[in-house]
Symmetry: C2
């Protein structure tokens, strides 16, 4: 098996190779659209199941809105259309026909109005809310959908940026601003909790600047993480929409005093991009490293044998071990295929990021022992197989915690406080990561820094340290530091 390109050598190539070799996904024949393979999709299903429960526990129902949005609806909110018009796939016809042995579009089957393949569903949902919402009794509406969206991207990258992506989009409607802001923050916290406790990725919570805000939002709350190469990645957003969409779509409710008011809204989403973050944060030069809580296979058992009789003896013990692990809700795969050597299998499951490997050799077995190998640090230990039911669950918890701890240390090392613009540029080039610096709060300065350094303000942190200072670029006064970084 060919070695993986190392991170140091070519980070981007390393990332792609892991995805291909660990069988997570691959590019398709359709520009920018990927095929998510069983192993990658199993991770997505775990993400969906966990988040779905959290959404439902906070009162959200799942629904489904159409894939297509008529162009006129899509264009109603001015900022929104400005933000998305550059990347819309447009359906113009509804039939093909044969002509001279070729298949062509039937020119007679032209749609009266073009349909946009949804890049996000605010417009069709707010148009529908107008029918659904009459009185304060109809509010709040708390809904979510798991769906595919299309954003026609020019530069695509598996999981991180694809023309089609799978995601969830929550859309809520409220009687007042306070409740809507509360909802947007609640969902940001649900994301944060999930990403830190399940994905083992430490994040920074913040709000976006006006330039980076979602097209149509009043405030975009976000979570940002830093990858091993020092580049930032936005991994979830929750938008307080204010009354922008209710005004654009004329959605009013009668309040409990009998007066008409515009409805307040939020929307929030995460996507298969999360899997890109998961790969980038934890993996190493041997391949994928998965946190136990999201690993499709948590434990793999590899028999080491010379003949059928030995395999039989091992398999007998393994069936006990499998039962014990299953009773503990730990997923286990026994790879007893004889077309591959144990060495090949060791590599394979390291590449696939399986958190724990149990090697069972015939000699160890006679002593009642099996070898346990951790994927996170590659440490090995021999244990008596009678204690498997106790050791493996504990070890999975330890691995989960260790991955978060390692990622947190790396993240913290990637945060640099800077007060000088030359230093700012030096750190960016030499080290990367987050730069925590003062900013004067203007879009003008933000744009100039971006033009000069390709760096964006990732977020204004929610955990505010009210520290006065001077803008790193303009020298104007500032009340708090913000996070700058180069980003995916």
């Amino acid at each position: 098996m060919a070695q993986l390109t190392s991170r140091r050598e070519d980070y981007s190539k390393w990332y792609n190779e892991i995805i291909i070799k660990a069988n997570l996904a691959e590019t398709s024949n359709v520009r920018g659209c990927m095929i998510i393979k069983p192993y990658g999709f199993a991770i997505w299903e775990k993400i969906q199941n966990i988040l779905n429960k959290k959404f439902k526990n906070t009162g959200h129902d799942n629904i489904y809105f159409p894939l297509f949005i008529p162009k006129s609806l899509f264009s109603k909110e001015a900022c929104h259309i400005d933000g998305f018009s550059q990347e819309c796939a447009v359906v113009t016809h509804y039939r093909l026909k044969k002509k001279d042995n070729n298949i062509i579009i039937d020119p007679e089957a032209k749609l009266e109005e073009e349909l946009i393949v949804r890049p996000t569903s605010e417009t069709i949902i707010w148009h529908t809310y107008r029918r659904w919402i009459k009185s304060y009794r109809d509010l709040p509406i708390l809904i979510n959908q798991w769906a595919n969206i299309i954003r026609w991207e020019m530069h695509t990258r598996l999981f991180l940026r694809t023309s089609e992506c799978l995601w969830q989009e929550g859309h809520t409607a409220h009687t007042n601003k306070k409740e809507a802001v509360c909802e947007a923050k609640q969902m940001l916290n649900i994301y944060t909790n999930f990403i830190e406790n399940y994905m083992a990725i430490p994040v920074i919570q913040g709000v976006k600047t006006a330039i980076e805000r979602f097209a149509g939002a009043e405030e975009t709350y976000c979570i940002e993480a830093i990858m091993q190469n020092g580049k930032a990645l936005q991994i979830g957003t929750s938008h307080f929409l204010g009354q922008n969409f209710s005004k654009a779509f004329n959605v009013k409710f009668t309040n409990n005093k009998g007066y008409q008011e515009y409805v307040w809204g939020t929307s929030w989403g995460i996507s298969t991009r999360l899997i890109g973050a998961l790969i980038m944060i934890h993996s190493d030069d041997k391949g994928l490293v998965l946190p136990p809580k999201l690993a499709p296979i948590q434990t793999v058992i590899i028999p080491i044998f010379k003949n059928e009789e030995q395999l039989k003896r091992i398999t007998k013990i393994v069936s006990n071990i499998k039962n014990i692990l299953k009773e503990n809700n730990i997923s286990v795969f026994y790879d007893d295929r004889n077309i591959y050597t144990p060495g090949w299998k060791f590599n394979e499951y390291e590449l696939k990021g399986v958190p724990i490997r149990i090697n069972i050799g015939i000699k160890d077995l006679e002593k009642g022992m099996v070898e346990i190998v951790r994927r996170d640090n590659l440490n090995k230990q021999f244990v008596n197989y009678n204690y498997i039911g106790k050791i493996i669950p504990e070890l999975l918890t330890i691995i989960q915690k260790n991955l978060f701890k390692k990622a947190l240390e790396r993240r913290n090392n990637f945060i640099t406080k800077v007060d000088d613009y030359n230093e700012f540029k030096k750190i960016l080039n030499e080290k990367g990561g987050f730069i925590l610096a003062h900013w004067d709060g203007t879009s003008e300065t933000e744009k100039k820094i971006k033009l000069d350094t390709k760096t964006t303000i990732r977020c204004i942190p929610l955990k505010k340290s009210k520290e006065k200072g001077k803008c790193i670029y303009s020298g104007k006064p500032s009340n708090q530091r913000v996070f700058f970084a180069k980003a995916y």
Copy 2:
């Protein structure tokens, strides 16, 4: 609350009213595309969860293929393109722009090759199989995806026939014909088991005639059911694709003797159409009737009270009842809203098809009694609330069985053996349902009968009664009866 139109009065109107009033779904602004509302989507989620487990238990993995299929790929299998070309949504552009304050398609952003929004994914999947399959060791491939598809329908009907629909599509690849046929039949049996045991819908298993076969299949296995108005509905299909797609996409494998062979395939799917069948089969003039195994709410509790103090006393008992039901894995909703009367609520949950309603009045409570009302037959009984934990689970099982039994009786009454063509037409007009009649096996006769009576051969039954006879239309010899019906 306005009464529902009765089935006798206008079956089609009755069906639509149930969907709207029970809050299952509604039409959207996009022609033929529906919005699935929380209550409707909750049923779809139950269907997904149950089937997903059955698919995984039989070795199938979930994956995700792109929404778009390049026109050239889509056109490769001749029958397939003939079957689907009439109903394809086509993406031709990838950008909008502003012009004179209007939003128009950017003519410069025309795609080099048009993209078809998938009506089904055989073509892109078989194109990909060519990369994935080299040797017999790569087979079988057993995959499934839950996805949205577009088939541009001219006459749409909520759930039954929509331009966009949610479905699952399984796609498998095998080394030999026997295994592929076996897979196609296995999936038909899984569908049948699910539809009979969970949806409580009795079905007839059969194969389609050449005319009704899936475009690109060698054999289409199907399950058909009869609705209360005597019309048939196809509710699931499983296709043996033979080598049609492997030949069209040149997918070969090296067999264990070192020779190249074409791969054998299957595909199989069910869709949100199932929910249409569910509504049509069991519901009555009071509204939806749901089988307990698929009901989002299995039990609703309605307090009957005059003042806050009474409500408090009821609520105290209810919290016990809720716990007991939850321990038995029975979903329960306590509707203690005081803006609606008990009478309004009775109607509401009858309309929504909740299998069991528990009415709790203050006087009965003093005697330790609550009233239980079954939705399937509207029977009422008073029971001691200490026995709730025993009675409700039993009753749900009884309701589930009773719904199947009622549907089976109705179905059997809708099967008429006919040996004379005039009788055939008479039965069709007066009674409808399945007509079990002899057919000479030719497409010519099938077409003539269709032209004459708008009736199609729903299937050639798998349970064969080798009965010789004469074709009802041509008088030519026949070896078995087939099922004719008017269909959705």
